[in-house]
């Protein structure tokens, strides 16, 4: 019955959180995206070269849920970017460490974007490095650090990875 340990249950819920995250963005339900994070959160996209070299130089850097909500509003009313349909492929979810109720997890992502002419192509691949916490509403991200391998892409960084 080892499968049913508490940590395996947590890992299962982390996979579900990842699935919801991908689904919400691929469905263009951006307004639901901040709800996956706690209030006092951090979300950043930090390209691998900078991340590895210990350099600042983020593509996006948000502290606090209000900045996430602001980003969504800005995507809806202000930003201009290439219209596209995303498809996120997220695999290899692993729970690395548990400190009390803070869980450190990693996973691999691949994003395919399809443009208005129906041409789908590889957009970016990389890793999610997460700190996840238990809340009354289930697991949420305290921190999601997106580390793209690829920084030479078709299209723009608009919608969250």
């Amino acid at each position: 019955m080892e499968l049913c340990t508490d940590l395996q249950q947590i890992e299962h819920e982390i996979i579900e959180l990842n699935n919801r995250y991908a689904r919400i963005l691929d469905d263009d339900r951006l307004e639901e995206w901040p709800g996956l994070f706690v209030e006092d959160c951090r979300y950043a996209i930090h390209p691998r070269d900078n991340y590895k070299a210990g350099l600042e130089g983020y593509w996006l850097y948000f502290e606090g849920n209000a900045m996430l909500r602001d980003r969504v509003k800005s995507l809806r009313v202000a930003n201009l970017y290439n219209i596209h349909q995303d498809r996120r492929i997220v695999t290899g979810v692993m729970l690395d460490q548990a400190h009390g109720e803070v869980y450190h997890a990693r996973s691999a992502f691949l994003i395919v974007q399809t443009d208005v002419e129906g041409r789908g192509r590889f957009f970016s691949a990389g890793e999610y490095l997460d700190k996840i916490v238990a809340t009354d509403d289930g697991l949420k991200f305290q921190e999601r650090l997106v580390v793209p391998d690829s920084f030479n892409m078709h299209g723009l960084v608009a919608v969250p990875f």
Copy 2:
């Protein structure tokens, strides 16, 4: 022990059904594909633009298992299409609703095709929207609606997605 609830068991079996589906097609065991569906089934490929606009305009539309078996026969003896090897990457399987023993599930897919010269490339990405039912032989598809994001592709729509 929450992992062991009935719904988690069902979700686990839905993941296995998806794995078998991908495997059968990637192995070119087309004859086994109709067996993943019940007799009174529906299988359709409905490109996202049409699907979202509420327009008919399917790439394929089969009602009843006989049409699926017919398709297989036609692929074996009549259709001409580019020879290729498929590789299906299916992730994000989620059980959305359970009405009695009818389960609504979604998942993300990515298909890579490799041609006879060994050149592999992105073929299509999109979603599976499923109604799955319990039978004496385990779970089967009552309906599989394939919604590709990409409709501007190298190659032809021949083998089921």
Copy 3:
């Protein structure tokens, strides 16, 4: 409580072994790669066309853990190859057969490579065909046969698939 059968527990551990394998290579922790195999092991990359035709003609063929360790050393000190960052997407892990404590499993892989200019692209897709055994240190590969669909690629076969 059916989820908690022994075989489902084993399948869960096989998924974890696959996740560790992908992570170790994507992290460029090559030195840890031989540790995923038992001493008396086999690792080979056998392109699908040759594999299906029953022809020898491997890209790599290693027997015994010493050859794996030697490969790592050679990659570190001798081989010249294009610098890149890999991202492995591994899905569809299935436990096919269990003979005592030898488990036969298959899975689908997709490897994306990103070059030094940040350009990520599809590298190869295919299958892993594994014999996995229980050891005192958990599950390990007795044999991993990599069967790439695609053999016409950007880049070189240097780092293990």
